[in-house]
Amino acid sequence: MNVIVKNILRILVLIFAQGLIFGQLPFGFGIHPMIYPLAIILLPFDTRPVWLLIIAFFIGLSVDVFMNTFGLHASSAVLIAFIRPAIFRRFAPRDDYDLLKEPTASEWGYAWFIKVSATMILIHHLWFFILEYFKFSAWKDIITSTILSSLISLIIFILLQVFFFKKPKSI
């Protein structure tokens, strides 16, 4: 399948899954699992940074429409799209990335995937909850929400990787 079509489909599926399923689950304890950052992580390695930002912005806006958050998700999505290249560089394998391969766990190993997605989820959720509470006095709520939601999101990311991004069988 064409890389562009594949990515667009993936983004749409993740947005709908976020809006219709994961956004509706009542976890309690201030937990809000967010799975759409996975769409930003999985964009091809050679996506140009400006396009990365614009795509992330629209992903975030679409999620906002579902969740009635008016731009909160857009802001967080743009933030992680901005730092994605730096994080990828930080965790690059010794002989750098193969630009033709996708940034999935089956290609680069689960250790790599967990490191990258944990960092991005943590930054995303922290920014999200800081903006949402917007009070110094609520720092306890912000930290608990961030850590618990990040854990749940990370587990969902890994499960999605295990089930839907299997290594293509070599012929």
């Binding site: 709908f16 809006g19 219709l20 956004g23 509706q24 009542p26 976890f27 309690g28 201030g30 937990i31 809000h32 940074p49 400006v50 930002l53 614009i54 912005f57 975030g60 806006l61 906002d64 429409v65 579902f66 969740m67 009635n68 958050t69 008016f70 731009g71 909160l72 857009a74 802001s75 743009v78 933030l79 901005f82 903006l131 949402e132 509470y133 609520a138 709520d141």
Partner: protein, 277 residues
Amino acid sequence: MRKLIAFFRRFRVFLVFLILQVIALATYTSVMSFPRTKFLNTANAFVGQLLTWERNIIKYIYLDEENEKLQLKNIELENQLPHNYISIDQKTAIINDTIRLLSFERTNATVINSSHTFRNNYFTINSGTDRGIQRKMGVVSDNGVVGIVYDVSKHFAVVKSILTEDINISAYIEGINSFGIIKYNGEDPQIVNLTGISNDIDIKIGSEVKTRGSGGYFPQGISIGKIVSVEPIEGEPRWEIRVKLSQDMRSLRYVYVIKHIHQLELEELEKNIEQLQ
């Protein structure tokens, strides 16, 4: 000039980042309210339709519970029917109905999308301008107040739930009649705060809090909740009163939108208050 272009080229990623971030935050903090109310919410036709489909799939899960509630309400209403009462003396028991004027109309609606875990919560209902719903109408459920309509489209409406920081519904405590304002502090979706009650007033735990009916959003005396704790605020002559909502916002499914027929009259009259002073 060349230096300027070079500068933009060098920092273009950061500039795009800044622009997008500013747009997002401006819509979020309602500096830019046009995109916010026009298409950035679930009242838009496409998302509304999707959420209705989702709702149609999962609504059967709660059917039993809702049926029971309806039955109870029916019994309550049926008990009020005139043929259930026997009049002792025909002449003294005449009820003159024309003395009362219908002032509040209700429209039923179903919640198709809701949240309760955020600091500011909104929910979407499946009735819009085509059924006469407008901005700033009160929304109640069987049990009590749930919110105020925030934005409407043709078939859907977004309601600002009582779990929103600046909901500011004015309420009174039954039996004492002193009134204050309902606010939500974002901690527990079952608890809201009643602010502005002076601490020289004796307050009993367990007494009911009801709408005061000012502003014309709600009729007077609709239940909001029961007082669970009263604590003094340090340095202020006021109580901090915690009220447990009578409608559990986590299981909100069927609501009524309240239309105040004399809203316009009330607003016109109250507009003159400042000029009179």
